[in-house]
């Protein structure tokens, strides 16, 4: 089970990208877009192999909660494959939930390894226009 904090942050990123997706011509899911955006700084930091390792672990953990993710694969360059093809097979809601769990697991791993400060700093770099700071977790902690 992913941490409430990582779920909360994942949900906020997905919501942000869902809105951004509606305004663009792309058809990828919000989860795919979040993952693709996180991929860039993480490859810069950890290399392709490092990013693939993290995402593989996140996918394995997410599959335990969302078996529908079994069709999702990670390409050699660290990009996700099969995430958007999932929807016709398992339904829109389950596909969205599976994507959210995968992103939450990936963020959860970052929180575990490099901590809240550096994770949020990275998120802030990727989504500079969004207001993500330490306070994003405050509400969840209090809850």
């Amino acid at each position: 089970m992913s941490l409430p904090e990582s779920r909360y942050l994942a949900q906020r990123l997905l919501t942000y990208e869902a809105v951004a997706g509606k305004n663009s011509e792309t058809t990828e899911s919000a989860a795919f877009r979040v993952c693709a955006k996180l991929r860039r700084p993480l490859i810069t930091l950890a290399g392709v192999a490092g990013f693939r390792s993290l995402l593989s672990r996140a996918l394995t953990l997410a599959r335990a909660e969302a078996p529908g993710l079994s069709a999702v694969q990670i390409a050699a360059d660290g990009s996700l494959q099969g995430l958007d093809e999932m929807e016709p097979q398992i339904g829109k809601d389950q596909a969205r939930e599976g994507g959210a769990i995968l992103i939450a697991q990936l963020i959860g791993l970052l929180l575990t390894f490099i901590g809240e400060g550096l994770t949020l700093s990275m998120v802030q770099t990727v989504w500079p226009e969004a207001a993500f700071d330490g306070r994003v977790f405050e509400k969840e902690r209090k809850a």
Partner: protein, 499 residues
């Protein structure tokens, strides 16, 4: 060429306490350096410390990681240090992984990738960790000339872009001769760690540094939650102006002894009080420090065998109030019993205390305790370091009284078992003597470098007022310093003393 015509090399702070002084003021700006050492010696931590000390959003620091410690793990561990400023990450400090380029491509591609990032960010600091991996990978498929050309082009690029560079690598000393990277580099910082009995001794050496004079030799360092802290062999006192010798005489707090010393201890002298256990060395030292406080000289007492509270209370039993000056920060009692500290680290603690309160008098009670408090591996350096500290402190006018325990012998009269008499300007010897069926105490001033002194052998007692000299010089005995004197029969016959 006048000094004004010469190019001025700016010096960057390392962020490592003590290291700037060892480097001769800091890191030369735009230099191309190597941080070398075995695994676990602190290379990455040192590189990070330098990085965070200098990186700004305008002149960021680029940290290229290559097939060494995974970057995620490195961040996980390094953020535990207090110097790691998370706010600088991605802004002033940027980590870039080059593992794939190194693995899949050639040296030209590595250089191209570094060039791209450097031109994009215009960094002030560049770190490549581990550079040795780049070289190792390249060696399999490039000639030595190609490798040298790559290193030279890299150095040229980074210097031209006004970056101060650090190549981090796990090198062994034998590699210095044949490795082109050492030839090209401007600076070479080597970190060592070695077990010595039950302690770990960490040392660093500035093997090479172009353009400025660093402090030669091996310097101990420690890694704590604040990162590295270095302790210069010169104890941070190199180049410190020596005070013009004073003509002032300091009272030791025992009027008769002051007279024996020709009016007191010359200010800025190092005086040794040697004697067997129980002869009153510590009491005499306490009187010296208390008299200083009374005359307005702040003081430091370094003790090894009792806690500061106990020391102050014992002084109270001799009517010497050390509690008030302690509260008023005119006196500091340092209890040093670390057992695993290096001698230079311990000396630094004393020097910090001296500087903090502007001490004029320092008591080291005792030298034997001092030596015992050090990690076994550092005891060999004890006399050398003590000599440096005493020379430096007395040079700036601090008067030092050290006590040393000597084995009481009834056939010899040794000044000190530690052969440290050369450290001292003045020596007072206390000893037991058998007189009239009693074990009594005598003192004599053995040596005073600053001038004449009394040759008298005087009896003293330890009373509720401390050490008190009783009576005039002992003229009725011969062989007092043997401890078994013979009473002189004024009629001409000597009479063996019965004890």
């Amino acid at each position: 060429m006048s000094a004004a015509d010469k190019v001025r090399i700016n010096k960057l702070p390392t962020g490592v306490p003590g290291l700037d002084e060892i480097l001769g003021g800091g890191l030369p700006e735009f230099s191309f350096n190597i941080i070398a050492g075995a695994p676990g010696s602190g290379k990455t931590t040192l590189a990070h410390q330098i990085l965070f000390a200098n990186a700004t959003p305008e002149r960021p620091a680029l940290y290229f990681t290559i097939l060494g410690e995974p970057a995620i793990k490195m961040l996980r561990y390094q953020q535990q240090y207090t110097f790691f400023d998370q706010a600088k990450l991605n802004n002033a400090v940027r980590f870039i992984n080059l593992s794939q380029v190194v693995l899949e491509k050639d040296l030209d591609a590595v250089l191209q990738e570094i060039t791209k990032e450097v031109e994009k960010a215009s960094p002030g600091i560049v770190v490549v960790d581990s550079f040795r991996t780049v070289v190792r990978k390249a060696l399999g498929r490039t000639t030595e000339v190609e490798l040298q050309s790559f290193i030279q082009r890299l150095a040229l690029l980074l210097t031209s872009w006004q970056a101060t560079t650090f190549l981090v690598g796990e090198y062994v000393e034998g590699e210095i001769r044949d490795n082109p990277v050492f030839t090209v580099s401007d600076g070479l910082l080597w970190l060592y760690q070695a077990p010595e009995r039950n302690s770990i001794v960490r040392k660093l050496q500035i093997v090479k540094l172009r353009g400025q004079a660093s402090v030669p030799g091996l310097h101990t360092f420690r890694i704590t939650s604040a990162g590295l802290q270095a302790f210069s062999r010169t104890l941070g006192l190199a180049g410190q102006a020596r005070k013009i010798p004073s003509t002032r005489r300091l009272s030791i707090g025992i009027p008769e002894l002051d007279k024996m010393l020709g009016g007191g201890i010359p200010e800025g002298d190092s005086i040794l009080v040697a004697g067997a256990s129980g002869t009153g060395k510590s009491v005499l030292a306490t009187q010296f420090i208390a008299e200083g406080i009374r005359q307005g000289d702040p003081g430091i007492v370094v003790v090894f065998e009792e806690r500061p509270q106990e020391y102050a209370e014992r002084a109270g039993s001799f009517g010497l109030d050390l509690k008030t000056p302690r509260n008023e920060k005119k006196l500091e009692i340092l209890y040093l019993r670390p057992l695993d500290l290096s001698v230079d680290e311990t000396m630094h603690e004393i020097l910090d205390a001296v500087q903090k309160i502007g001490a004029k008098r320092l008591v080291i009670d005792s030298l034997a305790g001092f030596e015992m408090a050090l990690a076994p591996g550092f005891r060999a350096d004890f006399r050398e370091s003590l000599y440096r500290m005493i020379t430096a402190l007395t040079g700036v006018g601090v008067t030092i009284l050290s006590t040393v325990e000597v084995n009481e012998s009834f056939t010899e009269f040794p000044f000190s078992t530690y052969s440290i008499s050369f450290l001292t300007d003045d020596i007072i010897r206390l000893r037991y003597v058998c007189i009239d069926g009693q074990l009594r105490k005598i003192m004599v001033v053995i040596k005073m470098r600053g001038g004449n002194h009394s040759k008298d052998i005087r009896e003293y007692e330890i009373t509720s007022k401390g050490v008190v000299i009783v009576g005039d010089r002992l003229t009725d005995y011969q062989g007092l310093i043997t401890g078994i004197p013979v009473r002189l029969n004024r009629s001409g016959n000597n009479e063996k003393q019965l004890t």
